[in-house]
Symmetry: C2
Subunit: 215 residues, 2 copies
DNA sequence: GCCTTGCCGATTGGATCCAATATGAGGTAA
DNA sequence: TTACCTCATATTGGATCCAATCGGCAAGGC
């Protein structure tokens, strides 16, 4: 689901746009004109149309008949409910993943978390944080669950960015503490603890976000 | 999301195929050739391609590059996890919907449940049951949540059908009892009870399904 | 005998052109 | 002035044609 050297033009266009949207170069609300993208990419409009449909399936753009595509905007309430959905689904992904995670994956988790703890920059934090959590879910046997979780991350990406831009040192420290506890639980194969810490992690973020984006 | 007289050709094709898949006329594993659908519909292949992408977004078909579209098959384990996801998400949809449901909607719930209780046929049961539950969620303010829930219903539709085909009178009676309790809780605006009954309803079905489809 | 390799039909992916629809500017009437 | 109507233009939706890719089958080599 992450970029990858794709063969068809529509997949390449999709990867390109996906990266732009997740990086915030295309902000929520931005309209995406087919012809612009086609020109920029040296392709016809048709693969662009298909790429937009793919991204729509991932929740990264929304399409309206005869009106085209735009990057979706979430209001505060919708954002909060998406976090409640994450709060319920991601622990399920975690618990089904933990018993199947390889020692290599656990070692990588430590490594990523070390880099997060050292990292000052915002962009890298968001990328690493996503890598971190997705890696904890990576052994989950259900593609449906993994795909759904990724959709939620996609649709909240912009707000995570806005949120972390005003991150205090204290907030960063909290995240690090939660991550450390989570990795420890995973290493001990303690499914209950893992679920507990992850739920708290998401829940705390939801509440802080609601405070920041309340309508 | 349900059929509706749509303006564009791709939407009409999508509605058509969606109905066929949900009705079981196109069984899981069936391959869908673009040209066949185009011919049957008197349109070109292009709107068919877009329709297939729409359906892929809803989880009703799966696409593979250069290999075309087919109706997805779930194995027993995947099916079970989808039910666990439903078990966690649908109560959320319900609790956010209950306070906003109109008296008219509640009256319709009674009506639908009466018809379910009287209904002998299988096809109508599946349709009515879906209508029933979606109506309980209909006031949920989050489109993301509603869309996600509908995706899950789509992807499990075939197995619900296979399941109900071997439904005993006892099983039907259980469903009716659960529905009655659910409607009662909704009518009393008792969010906790509603959540409790719905969770049990889905959970019980998951376990019975797992027994039937275990690998 | 079995695996590899190259060919051919079937099917999907892409480009170009045309039709349908929405958006915005400008003008006219109340 | 303001509301509404008309029309031009920009943008998306659809049809047709061409190119690329996959699957099966047969012939040849190990």
């Amino acid at each position: 689901m992450t970029a990858a050297a794709s063969s068809t033009a529509s997949e390449r266009v999709a990867s390109h746009l996906r990266a732009q949207i997740l990086a915030g170069e295309l902000a929520p609300g931005t309209r995406i004109r087919q012809e612009d993208v086609a020109a920029e990419f040296g392709a016809s409009r048709l693969p662009v149309r298909e790429a937009l449909r793919m991204l729509a399936a991932e929740g990264l753009v929304e399409l309206e008949t005869n009106k085209g595509a735009r990057v979706p905007e979430l209001d505060g309430e919708e954002l909060s409910i998406v976090y409640e959905m994450r709060e319920r689904l991601e622990p399920l992904a975690l618990t089904s993943s933990i018993p199947l995670l390889t020692p290599l994956a656990v070692a990588q988790l430590h490594e990523i978390q070390d880099r997060i703890a050292r990292e000052d920059g915002l962009i890298d934090f968001l990328t690493l944080d996503r890598q971190f959590h997705m890696l904890t879910y990576s052994a989950c046997p259900s593609v449906t669950l993994l795909t759904t979780v990724e959709r939620f991350w996609n649709s909240t990406q912009h707000y995570r960015r806005a949120f972390m831009q005003v991150a205090t040192p204290h907030r960063r420290a909290m995240v690090n503490a939660e991550h450390e506890l989570l990795v420890d639980a995973i290493e001990r194969q303690d499914v209950e603890d893992g679920e507990r810490y992850l739920t708290g992690h998401i829940r705390r973020t939801r509440i802080e976000l609601a405070e920041l984006f309340r309508v």
